[in-house]
């Protein structure tokens, strides 16, 4: 069991994600976005299963505009897997759980 999906923002993105000692899957989302709401429970389920080895985080693009700009995000939800401060892979849209699991397993 993990600690739940961690909220990250422009201020702590570097310390919580880029400089983390574990890989991190970050869900870039916004409250007005329907598909983002649909994928939120999936992130939670994955966190419960893999939260010990991977950080599951989410970044509200409305409150933190700089980080999404830095990663050229033009659609939400976008889910990016980071390892050692670098982008390993990313997925755009509300995709099935199995697709996200494939992404997560790349970091295990």
């Amino acid at each position: 069991m993990g600690q739940g999906v961690l909220d990250v923002d422009d201020n702590n993105f570097e310390s919580e994600v880029l400089k983390a000692d574990k890989p991190a899957l970050v869900d870039f989302w916004a409250p007005w976005c329907g598909p983002c709401k649909a994928i939120a429970p999936v992130m939670k389920e994955l966190e419960e299963a893999y939260g010990d080895s991977i950080i599951f985080a989410r970044c509200n693009v409305d409150n933190s505009p700089n980080t999404p700009t830095q990663y050229s995000i033009r659609a939400i939800p976008t889910l990016i897997l980071f390892q050692d401060g670098k982008v390993v892979d990313q997925i755009v849209g509300a995709v099935p759980k199995s697709h996200l699991e494939v992404l997560v397993k790349k970091a295990l």
């Binding site: 598909p35 409305d62 033009r74 659609a75 939800p77 509300a94």
Partner: protein, 303 residues
């Protein structure tokens, strides 16, 4: 008391929606049904495997008959798409493409599933790099840029108007507009540049969208392409209300045997809950949803 408060609102007028309307209206619930028959997958189908009907029936005729049945129980029909749903104080508000708001105690989602992708060259590669399927989600990323919206129906037209508040130039690429007169006037009076009688052949760009190549041979330089085919579907309307989706597909709304979703008063029936794509399943679920929603509305009204 709200004027025109409905007990049961139904989005979608295919077999699931019609059966839900028949059963809820026959229980004396005040029922309104939104949607256009041509958007039902039954519209162009011929049915040969529906129980107790030996002859092959035209889907269009079935839809017309079902509507008459529902109307005989006083269900009201409005041939408009819903572009926004809200859930406040135990009531659902629905905004139509003509910008009218309706309020209901319960909501049954029966709008089926529709193709969302264009399936043209460049599309898949550029998803998230300028190609988007959700104006409401992604308009903000295109501030001051040029964008094209693709689609013939309400989602594209309302999406293009929304984008005017963000983008510098908004093009709407369509074969033929299939929207209400009110929305058409709104579009005509707006700054949206409508490109009609053509379609997108290819989305151009190496690492991000640079433009669209049209079937008429023209190229339009844009930074973003919003694909908004048909009416707004499950991911836009249902997810916005907080409905849970089937995690394995992310395409279908999850329901229990009463056709209830995780949101009180919100039901789903028919193709939107998953396979098989059969009328028999749609009407079965529609029947249950209609009865359950009518009862729920009655309890809510008496509480």
């Amino acid at each position: 008391m709200l004027k025109d408060l409905y007990d049961v609102a139904i989005i979608g007028c295919g077999p699931a929606g019609l059966q839900a309307a028949i059963h809820s209206a026959s229980k004396k619930a005040k029922v309104i049904v939104f949607g256009k028959p041509r958007n039902s997958s039954l519209y162009k189908a011929h049915v040969a495997n529906f129980c107790c009907s030996e002859k092959v029936i035209s889907g269009k005729e079935m839809l017309e008959a079902g509507r008459k049945q529902a109307e005989s129980f006083d269900a009201v029909f409005l041939e408009e798409d819903i572009i926004e749903t809200k859930n406040e104080n135990s009531l659902f508000s629905l905004i139509t493409e003509s910008d009218e708001t309706f309020t209901s105690r319960t909501l049954i989602l029966t709008m089926g599933i529709a193709r969302k992708k264009l399936r043209v060259k460049g599309e898949k590669k550029l998803v998230g790099r300028g190609v988007s399927y959700c104006v409401d989600c992604d308009a903000n990323f295109f501030r001051g840029l040029d964008v094209a919206v693709v689609g013939n129906e309400s989602a594209a037209s309302t999406g293009a108007i929304t984008l005017l508040s963000y983008a510098k130039t908004v093009y709407l690429v369509c074969r033929k507009l299939m929207i209400t007169d009110t929305l058409y006037q709104q579009l005509r009076n707006s700054q949206v540049k409508v490109i009609q009688d053509t379609w997108v052949k290819e989305i151009i760009g190496a690492n991000e969208v640079e433009g669209v190549l049209l079937k008429n041979g023209d190229t339009v330089k844009v930074n973003g392409v919003f694909v908004e085919l048909g009416a707004k579907g499950a991911l836009e309307l249902a997810a916005n209300l907080g409905a849970m989706f089937d995690a394995e597909t992310m395409s279908f709304v999850e329901t229990n045997r009463k056709q209830e979703t995780n949101i009180p008063g919100l039901y789903a029936a028919g193709d939107i809950t998953g396979q098989p794509w059969q009328i028999a399943k749609a009407v079965g679920e529609g029947c249950v949803a209609g009865i359950e929603a009518a009862e729920y509305a009655k309890k809510l009204a008496n509480s």
